[in-house]
């Protein structure tokens, strides 16, 4: 069973595809969804996680490709694994035939990005133009696929427009990267990742409104909170890993990636401030900044072969784990228990350390598979964190309505 199906099934208590009822919609044969345990919320979050990861991994693979870096094959394989995860999600909703069609279209569009990158690296304008033309056709084809799948809820033109942003973002970031404008490339990476969340939410809404069996709603404040935290924490893990890899390899884009990581930290801090107040946000930021610094210190120790520096950084990370877990427990008045946070952070620390260690050793495959785990782990963390925040906020929010009228116009 793939990770994607596993995630949905785990979250929903044992859903399986069991029906063969079909309806021909022209482009895609819909399989009526019988997974009554699969909630609309889980569908949205899963698609956000997978589509967000697609953008991040495509960008990482394109950069490795244009620079001819050794980890290109591993990055491309990780992107391929993400495609399989997405395919399983499509299969769960629409069945085998649609999954196969999706997989072909999706795989091809990745190939077009690779071709563009290759053309860029070699200065082959014709190859770049051909790839862009193929991406243009892909937008139309994929739009038709989704229009059929969603019974017209998502129109071909709307999907094609969403994809235009995706194509523009991925192309412009690699253009900037290749030109040495790493800051612009990093800024576009954040936009490209965020764009996938809009896409995922729209897709989840369309699926839920045209397929039976998804309990609940894809929208709502609590779902939005979980989604936002997943987005920010997933991005944190990815950018931290990119910075560590860039740092340990002495790449020129380190400062730009670290800058994007800072922007992510500011966004996370703002989100935490809206829960725990300004002082809480400041305390969060200080600890969060420390733990990023400790990862960077570990990375420097690794690059220099300084075992003592690595051990010292790991010791600081261990202390951070305890302190941060206690912070969230205290700030949330026990609604985010310290033992839950400490356990989650242990995985986070282990994964980030392992991925840079293996990357440095040239075991890129393990580095990227561990990176996949680290990214996914953040979405579980976001689920636990958002549930704790909702529970905590229950006692913090203003109660009831407000008396803002004396009746002078009604009496």
């Amino acid at each position: 069973m793939s990770a994607a199906v596993g995630l949905l099934v785990t979250a929903c208590g044992g859903a399986t595809v069991a029906t063969t009822t079909t309806t021909d919609t022209g482009h895609v044969t819909n399989v009526a969804n019988s997974q009554t345990q699969v909630t609309a919320e889980e569908l949205r979050i899963t698609l956000e996680q997978q589509l967000g990861q697609h953008a991040l991994l495509a960008i990482e693979a394109m950069r490795a490709g244009v620079d001819g870096q050794e980890h290109y094959d591993a990055a491309a394989a990780a992107l391929g694994k993400n495609t399989e995860d997405l395919t399983e999600s499509i299969r769960l909703v629409y069945g085998d035939e649609a999954a196969s069609k999706f997989n072909t279209l999706w795989t091809n569009h990745i190939g077009f990005f690779v071709d563009y990158t290759t053309g860029l690296a070699k200065g082959d304008k014709a190859k770049q133009q051909k790839a862009l033309k193929q991406l243009d056709q892909y937008r139309q084809d994929f739009g038709a696929f989704l229009e059929g799948a969603t019974n017209g809820k998502l129109t071909q033109s709307a999907v094609a427009e969403l994809l235009q942003h995706h194509v523009d973002q991925l192309v412009s970031q690699i253009d900037a990267y290749h030109a040495g404008d790493y800051q612009r490339a990093a800024a576009i990476e954040r936009e490209a990742y965020a764009h996938m969340f809009e896409t995922a939410q729209g897709l989840a809404s369309a699926i839920v409104s045209t397929q039976d069996g998804f309990a609940g709603s894809v929208e709502g404040q609590a779902v939005d909170l979980r989604s936002s935290l997943g987005q920010l924490l997933g991005e944190h893990a990815q950018l931290a890993m990119e910075a560590m890899r860039s740092g340990v390899a002495g790449e020129k884009d380190f400062n730009a990636i670290a800058g994007a990581l800072n922007d992510n930290t500011e966004d996370l801090t703002a989100a935490m401030s809206s829960v725990f107040g300004e002082e809480g946000g400041q305390a969060f930021m200080k600890m969060w900044a420390n733990h990023i610094d400790f990862f960077v210190q570990y990375t420097v120790g690794l690059a220099e072969g300084d075992k003592a520096a690595q051990d010292a950084a790991l010791k600081r990370l261990e202390q951070y784990r305890q302190d941060f877990a206690q912070f969230l427990d205290t700030a949330s008045q026990g609604n985010i228990p310290s033992e839950v946070v400490a356990e989650s952070l242990q995985s986070h620390v282990n994964q980030l350390v392992e991925q840079v260690k293996t990357f440095h050793a040239g075991d890129y495959q393990t580095a990227f598979s561990t990176g996949d785990e680290a990214y996914s782990h953040m979405y579980h963390t976001a689920e636990a964190l958002s549930a704790g925040i909702v529970a905590f906020m229950g006692g913090e929010m203003p109660s009831g309505g407000v008396e803002t009228g004396a009746g002078g116009t009604a009496k």
């Binding site: 071709d115 404040q221 400062n255 401030s273 002082e279 407000v402 009228g405 009746g407 002078g408």
Partner: protein, 203 residues
């Protein structure tokens, strides 16, 4: 200001402790540039320090809502001891200062009366807002933040949608709140609240 002190004593103690691939039509995906290896350059990595100073939004000082001809300075309100919202004075547009500031992630709120005992008040026409209407908040220093109304809802005060209005959001949002619905003469109170939900418009 209250919103700066939401976390109380236990938290301050803690703070002190902590100061320390696929292919195209001709399947050419294996066609890629040759491998290169970057030379080690650890200077930037060694000197890196993560950002530690949060951005803070200046406090709001005025609001204007052209669609319903509302404009004026902002006062501030907070919470009563029972966690109910403090009621602004008649004629005032009031920022709920224990929540987010407009422009910060989270739900900021501006309250105003629908009427006084003798006639319409500042938010008399709030119910007329519709999707796409703009709300412009001016903050200290003169920056203007443009929010766009997404929807306007009416809810019984007894079933006020607390989570929908107040749960944290990762993006800056704004709620405009007043009274509406039927006026209950026996309780001298409107039965409902009108709530306009708006999001920050990013250029």
């Amino acid at each position: 200001m209250a919103r700066r002190h939401r976390i109380l004593a236990p938290f301050v103690g803690l703070l002190l402790l902590l100061t320390a691939c696929g292919g195209d039509d001709d399947q050419s995906t294996t066609d890629r540039p040759g491998t290169t290896t970057a030379g080690p350059s650890l200077g930037a990595v060694k000197s890196y320090r993560s950002v530690r100073v949060p951005e803070s939004m200046p406090e709001p000082v005025a609001v204007s809502i052209p669609a319903i001809d509302v404009r004026g300075p902002l006062t501030e309100t907070g919470l009563n001891d029972d966690r109910s919202l403090e009621v602004p004075e008649f004629g005032e547009l009031s920022w709920f200062a224990e929540g987010a500031a407009p422009g910060e992630p989270g739900p900021a709120a501006i309250l105003g009366h629908v009427d006084t005992e003798s006639g319409p008040d500042v938010f008399y026409r709030l119910r007329e807002l519709s999707t796409g209407d703009r709300v412009i908040v001016t903050v200290k220093g003169g920056e203007k933040l443009v929010f766009v109304v997404g929807r306007v809802e009416q809810h019984a005060k007894t079933r006020f949608p607390i989570e929908k209005v107040w749960l944290p959001t990762a993006e800056p949002e704004l709620r405009l709140i007043t009274c509406g619905g039927e006026f209950d003469q026996s309780r001298d109170s409107y039965r409902d609240n009108i709530i306009a939900f708006a999001s920050l418009h990013e250029e």
